[in-house]
């Protein structure tokens, strides 16, 4: 697999404060990479260096094997970028805005018009004739997505792409991202909203105070941060009657609530069938029993709290 995005010790200082601090990162071709981190972690700063808008203080970054600070124009030709605070010319319509930006690429005049209609359709802005100044924030953001797609980029950089979207637009956005990924595009998504990343991303990196503190698939991260091993299971049992002491060879740890109507069991295997048998024999009426999967949310929060 080749890396479409690669950074080497990428660093950005702002008045002596490191917004990004020695970042080493690789994103494979065709990946949907989620870049997660709390506010001020350095996510946008990283993306701005990757798209050639600001120069790194130290280190290098490569996009499609082009060193960005050496040849930003070539990089901009093959990427699409949705900034976190996108703005458009308020006196021009969506199509006019896109036409202006399309003018910076080698696209035939006739193909250009078709491309504009196509990308507007993709973000559900087809046929909208309002001036961009009258757009809602969500519409502006969707136009931002269209703008990032105008040159049919190989790599997409999206900074908080769903920040202003309503649920339906979020749904459409996710489908769009999946479709673009299927077309073979590499997508780099910055977010502090966890479901945004867990829903669409294949790989995730977590950044905090400018440093990459974790990287892997969603499942890998979940396990890593829940503190549980791969062969560790957690079950929660609730009953209407107090639960007596339970014994099982696979149980690692067991915790009863004060009224003994709720038990949390950690074991080496899924022992729900055995437990329900035991409770049935003892005539204890069960309310429910479920496996507890550690969520990325928990994993993520545990990182934030560190």
């Amino acid at each position: 697999m080749r890396y479409m995005i690669r950074t080497e010790n990428l660093t950005k200082n702002y008045n002596g404060v490191k917004a990004v601090d020695g970042l080493n990162l690789e994103v494979e071709e065709g990946d949907i990479f989620g870049f997660l981190g709390p506010n001020g972690a350095g996510k946008s700063t990283t993306i701005l260096m990757l798209v050639g808008m600001i120069e790194p203080t130290h280190g290098k970054c490569f996009v499609n094997d082009i060193e960005v600070s050496k040849d930003p124009l070539s990089v901009k030709n093959i990427i699409g970028y949705l900034p976190e605070d996108i703005g458009f010319y308020s006196n021009m319509t969506a199509a006019e805005n896109l036409n202006y930006f399309a003018g910076f690429y080698k696209i035939e005049k006739s193909a250009r018009q078709k491309k504009i209609e196509e990308v507007l359709e993709l973000v559900n802005l087809g046929g909208v004739t309002k001036k961009a100044g009258q757009f809602s924030r969500g519409m502006t953001q969707r136009l931002g997505m269209a703008q990032a797609l105008i040159n049919d980029p190989k790599i997409l950089f999206l900074d908080e792409p769903t920040a202003n979207l309503d649920p339906e637009s979020v749904f459409q956005y996710r489908n769009l991202v999946k479709r673009l990924s299927d077309e073979g595009k590499t997508i780099f998504i910055v977010s502090h909203i966890l479901p945004e990343v867990s829903n669409v991303c294949k790989t995730t990196g977590i950044i905090k105070e400018g440093r990459l503190i974790a990287k892997g698939t969603i499942d890998e991260l979940k396990r890593e941060f829940s503190g549980m091993g791969e062969d560790q299971k957690q079950m929660i049992i609730e009953a209407f009657d107090p639960i007596p002491d339970l014994t099982h060879s696979d149980i690692l740890k067991i915790e009863y609530s004060e009224d003994r109507k709720r038990v949390v069991i950690e074991s080496t295997s899924d022992i729900r069938e055995d437990i329900s048998g035991i409770l049935f024999e003892k005539h204890i009426r069960m309310k429910g029993m479920k496996m507890h999967e550690p969520t990325l949310e928990e994993a993520f929060l545990s990182i934030y709290k560190e």
Binding site: M53, I54, K76, P83, G87, Y89, N91, G103, F104, Y105
Partner: protein, 386 residues
């Protein structure tokens, strides 16, 4: 993929359309056009008055009705009597009609150019379009160069229309400029363009320096006020403070000679010009006057570089100096008084010689916008666009 700089053309096109579609620009340009036309209208009326006076005078000469005007003895050199018939009247020039327009141009032009330029960059930053724009494959300097070129084109268009209408007004008013006058009017149009470009460059610079468009417009007008009004206005005081007070002239000495006898009509003479009379002048007084003149000249020689330095950044001053040698707003007087025996050159120096005399002003008029644009350019290239 894109190796050439075709992005510039795209920016120029968009910016040009932006200007001419902008309601703000259209309104201010219409006001500009109306007031320019109004000032020319005033000039045309003055031209007609001057023409009437001219015709009256020609008649009087043809009637050979002589009137003598006694002249005071000072400043010395030309004492005596001047005869009305000795006045060499000049037909008023079409350039005379531009007198008010010449005065209005710096004020109206400053307003138009500042309105065009004050928010060109600041608005892109406020609306966060600069970031969107820069994420596409363009060089950063193409943005500011494109805006400058589009501004220049719009100014050329605006001045072109204004002068087109002005010429039409002249023709409608039966004023047909000669070829020479036409050349001067065209040159006046060109320096008007550069004048507006200077103000535009100041506004563009201001829009780079300030993110807030309100601050930007205040700053632009502030700078223009300082360089074109305040500095030139305080210059004479500053110069006098540096050089000291001007020399006092000696007391006036009125010694009007007895009126000469009126010669007989039709007497053989130098075509109606009377013989020159010599007057006795007090040699002591003359010496005093000569001394005063020497001192004055020396004094002004020292004052001039100081006042010029104060006005060096004022495009309006240079515009005025060049307009003067182009005879814009001139040529409406009764013509020069031709004093017999004086060596006033009859032939005017040609246009190139006259422009050469103000080459410093011409140079300055080009350098001023270049300076402000250079500041705008450098600042813009270093702008933090996050």
């Amino acid at each position: 993929m894109r190796s050439n700089r075709s992005g510039l053309g795209n920016i120029v096109r968009k910016e040009f359309i932006d200007h001419i579609r902008s309601g703000k620009f259209i309104i201010v340009f219409l006001i500009f056009l109306l007031l320019s036309a109004y000032s020319l209208h005033g000039g045309i009326n003055m031209y007609h008055d001057a023409l009437d006076r001219y015709k009256e005078h020609i008649e009087r000469i043809e009637d050979a009705e002589d009137i003598r005007i006694p002249m005071p003895a000072g400043p010395p050199g030309h004492p005596g009597v001047v005869h009305v018939t000795e006045w060499m009247p000049e037909r008023p020039s079409a350039l005379y009609a531009f007198m008010w327009m010449r005065m209005a141009m710096p004020v109206l032009g400053a307003i138009l150019a500042v309105v065009m330029g004050f928010d060109l960059i600041s608005r892109e930053r406020q609306d966060r379009t600069l970031k969107t724009l820069l994420s596409h494959p363009i060089y950063r300097d193409e943005i500011i160069n494109g805006k400058a070129i589009a501004g220049l084109l719009v100014i050329i268009l605006a001045i072109g229309m204004t002068f087109g209408i002005s010429l039409a007004m002249l023709l409608i008013s039966d004023i047909v400029p000669t070829i020479g006058e036409f050349v001067n009017i065209a040159l006046f149009g060109i320096i008007s363009v550069i004048l507006l470009v200077s103000f535009f460059a100041i506004a563009l610079m201001s829009s780079v320096l300030f993110k807030n468009s309100g601050s930007s417009i205040m700053f632009a007008f502030g700078i223009i006020l300082v360089i074109s009004l305040i500095l030139p206005a305080i210059a004479p005081f500053a110069a006098e403070m540096i050089v000291g007070p001007r020399p006092e002239p000696p007391p006036f000495d009125f010694r009007v000679p007895p009126p000469p006898s009126i010669p007989d009509e039709g007497q053989e003479g130098d075509e109606g010009v009377l013989e020159k009379r010599e007057f006795e002048i007090d040699p002591l007084a003359e010496e005093e006057w000569a001394e005063w003149r020497r001192q004055s000249e020396a004094y002004w020689e020292r004052i001039r570089p100081i006042t010029e330095a104060f006005a060096i950044l004022s495009p309006a001053t240079h515009f005025g100096e060049i307009s003067t040698v182009l005879d814009i707003g001139m040529g409406g007087m009764m013509g020069m008084i031709h004093i017999p025996g004086d060596d006033i050159p009859v032939e005017d120096p040609d246009i190139f010689d006259r422009l050469y005399a103000v080459w410093m002003n011409i140079l300055a008029l080009f350098v001023i916008p270049a300076i402000f644009f250079a500041i705008a350019y450098t600042k813009f290239m270093k702008l933090d666009i996050r």
